[in-house]
């Protein structure tokens, strides 16, 4: 294990302890449980970062006409967006039960994240349905870019509409209501988990490259180096079959 991983592990332990040492938050039904915010909020931000990264890489996929190496980055970014969206969802549902006494409240932000998750599931369903590598890269990239419009609407517009009432304390956070330890722990976790997410992203891209290399090698081995290039066609007698 290298020193970098040890430092990251210690940092995770450190911020976790820091979070539990912070004084209980005021104005919550279960003040101690409000600490879930230290993870829930940074994960939501990281999800959005990877959604934009996925869309950006998808634009590059279309520009490169479906180059697999570019597609690996788009796929990895969307996978991480889905992973962090799922964790955001789970932490949100747990807190929802504790704070609002319901697992699901159809809160606009909860609903928005659910819709974003459905879009990401659809992206991967589309990828799974297309076997040709280039076609899969191009079509899923087009879908990812098309999905950017509803994603922007769901994350940035819908929860802020005047007609929509949210249980989320968005104004508290946007208005600088997070102070002292709460603000520092959220910030520290955001930086730390962004770093970890980026590390996971690069690892995922490397794995995709390795899988691709292995597929190419397997294809060459199946071919046995004696494919059509040799020009040998073996005659087959149909009458022998009977």
């Amino acid at each position: 294990m290298n020193i970098g991983k040890i430092v990251v592990g210690l940092a995770v332990v450190g911020t976790t302890i820091w979070g539990f040492l912070a004084p209980p938050a005021q104005g919550f039904m279960h003040e101690d449980l409000a600490r879930i915010l230290f993870w829930h909020l940074p994960y939501a931000f990281i999800t959005v970062i990877f959604l934009f990264a996925g869309a950006w890489q998808s634009i590059k996929v279309l520009r490169s006409a479906g180059q697999p190496t570019v597609d690996f980055r788009a796929e990895a970014a969307n996978e991480l967006a889905m992973l962090f969206a799922l964790i955001t969802m789970v932490t949100g549902i747990l807190f929802s039960k504790a704070q609002w006494n319901a697992w699901w409240s159809w809160d606009p932000r909860q609903t928005s994240f659910l819709f974003v998750l459905l879009i990401l599931f659809a992206y991967f369903a589309l990828r799974a349905g297309i076997s040709d590598r280039v076609k899969r890269a191009v079509n899923s990239a087009a879908y990812c870019i098309a999905a950017l419009l509803p994603i922007l609407f769901l994350i940035f517009v819908l929860p802020r509409l005047p007609q929509v009432q949210s249980l989320h304390p968005s104004n508290t956070i946007a208005g600088g209501g997070l102070k002292g330890d709460y603000w520092y722990v959220v910030l520290a976790n955001f930086v730390l988990f962004t770093f970890i997410a980026h590390w996971l992203y690069t690892m995922r891209v490397k794995v995709s490259h390795l899988e691709w290399d292995r597929e190419n090698r397997d294809a060459r081995m199946d071919d046995g180096g004696h494919g059509a290039a040799t020009g040998v066609v073996r005659p087959l007698s149909l009458s022998d079959e009977n």
Binding site: L62, G66, F115, L118, I119, F121, A122, Y123, A125, L126, G129, I130, S131, D132, V134, K135, V138, N139, A141, A142, Y143, I145, A146, A147, L149, P150, F153, L154, L158, Q163
Partner: protein, 225 residues
Amino acid sequence: MESSSWSSEILSVLRKEFVSEMRQKSGLLTAGLFAVVSVVAVAFASFGNKLTAGFASGLIWVTVLFTAVVAIPRVFLLEEEQGTGDMLRLSARPHAVFWGKGLFAFAQLLAGAAVTSLLFFILTSVALYGVGIYVLGLAGGCAALAGAVTLCGALVAQAANRAVLAGAIALPLLLPLIALGVAGMRTALEPDGAQGGVEAVLGLWSYAAAVWAIGPHLFAAVWKR
């Protein structure tokens, strides 16, 4: 090759869609039947109870959405099944194909939405107060639906299990549209005309404009491959 203008290419694709649909009538009948059965089922499930404006608008939009998802992807799936896709690729530019097929889908959806609405109001006795907001909202929603589902149909045209996949990938993209559609339609079904109807209709048309602006470019990227 004889050069042709955009409008003539789009009109040719649109005409081709109408002619082939009128020849077979299968898609039209299926979509029509689906829309009618959905409305009857929804009205029947309410058991004659008075529906609230919010609930009624949600039911109408869900019916329109599922009719669109069932009917529209056919415009591309058929090309691949009948082997006419390559011919179309050679005959028209991708943007013209998208516009031609999208406009056909829009016309089909508008007709379906009109029939669905009429039946819904007859069967459920829900009163309509804001006709303008209702019609404009439904038309804007149909325009956005047509663009988005046409694009999704093209994306899955060569995929495995494409008929189901088209609906599965189109629905998540259309959920925000439903939120806007329901918000707009609810104001049209309330006697005092609740606020936000005009904003919702503007939102629907803006969504449609965005879909029709980026749709042809994304379609062009996938169509020629």
